[in-house]
Symmetry: C2
Subunit: 198 residues, 2 copies
């Protein structure tokens, strides 16, 4: 039996037959939540479960050099504040939209999400999409799925500037750490929208 | 009566009361299709009709300078081939996904769309999303909406490397040039999916 593994090089991913070069990620500690989610999304894509991508980082390009036709080099550019969340796509006919953040604290600082990302999530839910947060508490080694509605609920009823982990425990769902896919958030969606999806 | 106009500065847009400074776009010729679609999407957003964005240009960042905490400057970066189409979002609960291109020719060269953008559109349709192309023929001053299925149909039945404008006339829909929104592609979707949307 040939075992296939997903190997992840920066932004590229391939299915490889052998676990050569020590590049395979399974078991690898110290991966960021972003890496884990990108790999999860690529796994979903290969399995034809869903089509979900991280949006590229928004930048303003000021200067580009063209040493030759093929190889443009950006020489000056600036980071822009994103107007939307980082991830979106489609799952079982449904529009999916979420933001993912990790924190070393035991409480999730709301300053980690931009005001317009929150209003973006409000619009998504209003238009019939599935919006949520994925938050990883690094020290606790726990990753949570929190529906956008629960986030709005916190913002409306609380004055605190950060969401305690207990709020996630009570109102969200743990996403178990798995080998593959690493952050299986679609399982939470299946549970939440049982029967409502295609 | 106060008239509001959408003013578009690069990536920013504001609603302004007066037509000062000659910055207002209506009637302005020589705007690119991308500008027109961005403005259309902003109009849809303000009107709360749909939430559709252009994805940022995907780049690989190699070098960043931090002269101070607030102002990171990207000093070296490269353009990446996009894995997806440029635009996606949600309309009446439906996942929307499209690519927009303009051409000076009387036939749309298929080389304008990357292979993986086509397979991306295939996946979108397969997963229940609404996928399409918006193609503008500059000389003819005509903008067409072509459903992804019609694009696939052309690819399967034709060997030509470009799609003649007649194929768009027969299989697509003209998007009339309007004052606001400039490229009202949601109207075509309404016509196509009558009753199927929320």
């Amino acid at each position: 039996m040939i075992k296939y593994s997903i190997i992840y090089y920066g932004d590229e991913m391939r299915l490889n037959k052998t676990a050569s070069l020590g590049l395979i990620n399974y078991g690898k500690r110290g991966m960021t939540l972003e890496d884990d989610i990108n790999q999860t999304n690529k796994f979903y894509l290969i399995q034809n479960q869903a089509v979900i991508y991280k949006k590229p980082t928004p930048i303003t390009i000021v200067k580009v050099n063209y040493p030759n036709r093929e190889h443009a080099v950006i020489k000056e550019a600036y980071f822009k504040t994103p107007s939307t969340t980082d991830y979106n796509g489609i799952y079982k006919g449904k529009y999916i939209d979420f933001e993912a953040k990790e924190t070393k604290l035991s409480s999730f600082p709301l300053s980690n999400i931009h005001e317009h990302q929150i209003s973006h999530l409000r619009k998504i839910v209003e238009h019939g999409g599935i919006g949520f947060l994925i938050v990883r508490f690094i020290k606790e080694n726990k990753t949570y799925f929190l529906e956008a509605s629960k986030l709005f609920n916190f913002l409306e009823t609380e004055t605190r500037k950060s969401i305690p982990i207990s709020y996630f425990t009570e109102n969200g769902f743990i996403i178990p750490d798995k080998y593959q896919p690493r952050v299986d958030y679609l399982k939470v969606i299946d549970k939440l929208y049982k029967g409502d999806l295609l």
